[in-house]
Symmetry: C2
Subunit: 330 residues, 2 copies
Amino acid sequence: MRMLINVPETVVADALRGMAAAHPELTVDVENRVVVRRDAPVAGKVGLVSGGGSGHEPLHAGFVGPGMLSAAAPGEVFTSPVPDQMVRAAAAVDSGQGVLFIVKNYTGDVLNFDMAAELAEDEGVRLAKVVVDDDVAVTDSTFTAGRRGTGATLFVEKIAGAAAEEGAPLERVEAIARRVNERSRSFGVALSSVTTPAKGTPTFDLPPGRLELGIGIHGEPGREQRGMMTSREIADFAVDAVLEDRPPTGPVLVLVNGMGGTPLLELYGFNAEVQRRLKERRVAVARTLVGNYVTSLDMAGCSVTVCQVDEELVRLWDAPVRTAALRWGL
Amino acid sequence: MRMLINVPETVVADALRGMAAAHPELTVDVENRVVVRRDAPVAGKVGLVSGGGSGHEPLHAGFVGPGMLSAAAPGEVFTSPVPDQMVRAAAAVDSGQGVLFIVKNYTGDVLNFDMAAELAEDEGVRLAKVVVDDDVAVTDSTFTAGRRGTGATLFVEKIAGAAAEEGAPLERVEAIARRVNERSRSFGVALSSVTTPAKGTPTFDLPPGRLELGIGIHGEPGREQRGMMTSREIADFAVDAVLEDRPPTGPVLVLVNGMGGTPLLELYGFNAEVQRRLKERRVAVARTLVGNYVTSLDMAGCSVTVCQVDEELVRLWDAPVRTAALRWGL
């Protein structure tokens, strides 16, 4: 236990109170656990709602704001939010132009967002949904049928968010979100286990000096455990895994993501190796983002996400965004 | 060892190569270890140069860009940069309007920046210097005569950077930097030790379930070790320590800073308690920033920095900034 908390039961509510205090540009409903950009609903604009278990911050609430999500619904740590949260979020952001749900592919999330979609549609909200499933490490993991949704969620939320901000209609925003997901692949590596507040001890066993290749963002098993590898070897393994699954035929957007417990100094060093490997594999890089964005509490480790982009996707990536965790041009 | 590195000897160079790849808006001289905004020197603008040991990322290189630092000189992990780095940085950013060195108060940094200032002045650069010493925990610590420089460095770099960007002359930029430092106080808490790449094992002893109050950003001893405290109790202790040292007579800027290994979820929860305590103490909060900004590699823990602001300082804080780690309005 080395946690900065009061009691495990209030971790999410405490964090939402802290977000509210730090970000007056957000409307934070602590009781009902919905984070909404303050100017929602924005007239003529499609709403974007995402959500999922807490513990992956800044995902998703840190991505709420102009140019990205309209609202986020945080669940308990590593636990899906309940449908009522997404229904409230959809109602809060719908301007009449409809709402897109962005859902990471975990069984609980998919079920709860589906139920929320039915309920919101009953209330007259036009809804579309995209499920993010970019993780090439394994299929049918602990909490997932099919592939897990990880780093590509950031790409989908940013790029679809930019399209919505420009005034694209729901069908178009949905199509762009799907396009980003289809062109994205991720692979993650754990250098330590992860400790949830409720459990207080590591959720899986990873002896010192070992790492797990293909880890999920909740500590779900990857492909294999190995003895320690260098940054260079890990980059080769991760980059090759994503390129093998979907060989790019054009330039890519790269996310070198920290799992939360790995210092930024190391992440930048890892990025050097990722870029080297991409160059060796003759993949052109359009843009790179390095940092802790799709995390797993205090887990040490990293993931690599690549998304093959075209001119439109690069333009939407570059478009202004103003959220707690991702900001430029506004 | 759970590090994402190649070998300890290349950690800083690897990170600089990774920064260069991710940030084409920076000129990164990997060999000489200087990070400069690409458009430097900016005509008519005072240059701002900072630097210090690596391992505190995003400080300082992550704060180079329009509206903040002109250049940064990263040393080895937890080791001062050498004078030649700061001389190169000063030469690269001086437009003829002079250069301000922003130095955290550690003996090695102060000596090396002083030597660099003499050398740069010999080359015709007009130089001023401000030493940041905001940490109220202890005086005359392991690496420091007087108080340590910690979280206030971010405030000084942002606010003085904004003044320089507006075209303020050197004397004015220096005066503002001094004003920010004089009005800033910090207090940090460690929930775990820190492991440097060179050593590979924790640099100090902090048994599980214990914390250290008043820790430095290199793991220097604080005031005392204690058994585990709640987020609420830690906030009370830290806020009271900074307010006692300099009772504010007006609104404050607040930095709730993570040491690197504490999840953002917990930092936001901690912010809720910091804000509660400030309110109980009748201190008005003008702005709040929450995140990992002045870190200590993988150390779990946090620090609180408050700076009493006036209208001018708030305006300069809000002014546009575009760096790797802090961005708004550009």
